[in-house]
Subunit: 350 residues, 2 copies
């Protein structure tokens, strides 16, 4: 599959239809692995990094069905393409900004990505739509087994998998759930929820890790500790907390609809109105408005708007995608115009 | 004509069709007069005030065609009705908030209003649509002659007409022009213009005298001095300045359209979008949005929107009118909802 095709296709972590998809956008399971007998990346000389990448590419394509996976080299990839892959969560900021030979294998439907020469030698990640921690984990585990048939991992019987950063030692597992929590934000309960989450040693980040509210009320919650617990324990703790947050968000949504329906409708309809009429719109404003519209659809207060289109716009209106679709590097003000045009086109109000 | 009918009719100072109606909403000429041999209002005992009001009512109706004029007593008028008359500029804040017997005669099409027992015994005012200083003055002058056939004015051969406040002594004339200056505000030239205006001893006020920007970019410019100049001199000075301001505003509009058409369209279309979608809207926001839409129509960038409706909404969305139309006293948040409903109804997007 060509990169351009990937960048214009819907992304699985935004497709509706998964469990709890009114609140949970997607589930991600990521495993960090390193090849035995080789230094970690930060100590690897350039020529060995190049050799390692070739080795990993071969191993990954041997382990997986090579006709279903596409390997992309990062080193010579244009900046805008790297940006798009980051926006799609197919690669990390670190891989995009890294140096030297490094790559990523992208699997069917963009649900699986295996990065080579990121912080660790291998980072494999599986995305599922909605809340599917067990399913994503089992899939990642199966891929891990296939990779292990090709590669000998560094593994300590006492500590588990060894990784470049101590936070990943042990299982090498990071499970994260992407949640849309507009009602908790609107009712000013989000801080309280996040404080409780932190005490359970879970991490909260924004849509792209910024951790700010200005990212469409989308938050990723993931385990911080990878050591000292089995994979199932990690998944169970996370799953329990996520279920509680889902319940809180639902409560907050119902309360908004019951207690201040007119103020709520005002917010939803103004957001829709601006999205469908603006000629210039920033990335941040877009996310904030999309968030309100998404809430409105799920509360059945905004009718006739396709949720898949709204979800897709969370991604397609990002900086890289806007430029990729225009086929040109654009300055900020040009992007803001192109973004507004694109949104109106997608919402059928051009 | 009944008060309720007046309050639901279009107001002449907002009807399009007058000269320069893209920029000038209306022209007003006001004359202040007092009856000879009677103390000014601030020194008038209550029983004499009552007697004077009866006398003035009789005189005014005798001078004018009584079948075309309706006399309204202010003293027992509900607060919301007084508020509506102020919003229509048929009476002053002072008359609405005053004490004791006082009244107003409203003439055909709400173009003429003659107040009794305001600051002066008589205040007669004539409204014309667009820029019509001479026409409004001639009409006021003719009415003044008819009143003078019924009433002997206090007049000093040396000073001219005597009035309660020294600023009105002399001609008793205040001519004022209501201008819509959104482009001068947007391009930050308005302060410069107003500074120049002040140096010419002209006064600038907002739509309802507040003098703030938050009143839909509508400003009233009027003469300050009434003494030492003939009526024609006063009108000439004001007319010259108004013509210059019209030219500046036109220039600013053309510059906006030529230099930043997309940013301009963004502002116009967002304003239209919010007006047609909001469920809760304040009075101040309404005026700001109406101002942008009005600019858009006159620049031919917003098509298919009736200018008469937009002008009318400047008035009909005021606090008093919103309550009058609902037939109930409403708190601020109730008004904001009723206002949004009314706007959508008028703009055909309910």
């Amino acid at each position: 599959m060509k990169l351009d095709k990937i960048i214009t296709s819907p992304s699985p972590w935004l497709e509706p239809g998964g469990p709890h998809d009114d609140i949970v956008l997607s589930t991600r399971v990521r495993l960090a692995r390193n090849v035995a007998g080789r230094p970690f990346l930060n100590r690897l000389p350039p020529d060995e990094q190049q050799e390692l990448e070739a080795y990993l590419k071969k191993a990954v394509l041997a382990a997986m069905k090579p006709d279903k996976y596409t390997w992309f080299e990062l080193e010579d990839m244009p900046q805008v393409d790297r940006q798009c892959l980051v926006e799609r969560h197919l690669i990390s900021h670190e891989l995009a900004a890294g140096k030297g030979e490094r790559g990523v294998a992208v699997g069917p439907k963009q649900r699986i990505a295996i990065m080579a020469n990121e912080e660790d030698h291998l980072r494999l990640q599986v995305y599922s739509s909605g809340l599917q921690l067990q399913e994503a984990w089992q899939e990642a585990d199966a891929i891990d087994d296939r990779l292990e048939a090709q590669v000998i991992y560094t593994f300590s019987p006492k500590l588990g998998y060894l990784t470049a950063c101590p936070t990943n030692v042990g299982t090498g597992l990071r499970a994260s759930v992407m949640l849309h929590l507009p009602a908790l934000v609107l009712t000013r309960q989000i801080e309280k929820v996040f404080n409780a989450v932190s005490r359970l040693r879970l991490a909260v980040r924004g849509l792209y890790g910024e951790g700010t509210q200005a990212t469409g009320d989308v938050y990723q919650i993931s385990n911080q500790a990878s050591l000292g617990h089995t994979e199932q324990e990690i998944l169970k703790t996370l799953g329990t907390v996520i279920s509680q947050i889902i319940a809180y968000e639902k409560e907050a949504r119902d309360a908004l609809a019951a207690e201040s329906p007119t103020a709520l409708d005002d917010r939803l309809l103004r957001s829709w109105a601006i999205l469908t009429h603006a000629r210039v719109i920033s990335s941040e404003e877009t996310l904030a408005l999309l968030s309100a519209v998404r809430l409105g659809i799920h509360l059945k207060r905004l009718k006739g708007v396709d949720i898949g289109t709204i979800n897709d716009l969370f991604l397609m209106t990002r900086r890289g995608h806007i430029q990729k679709m225009r086929g040109a590097e654009l300055g900020e003000s040009e992007r803001d115009v192109a973004r507004a045009d694109y949104i109106r086109k997608r919402l059928g109000t051009n």
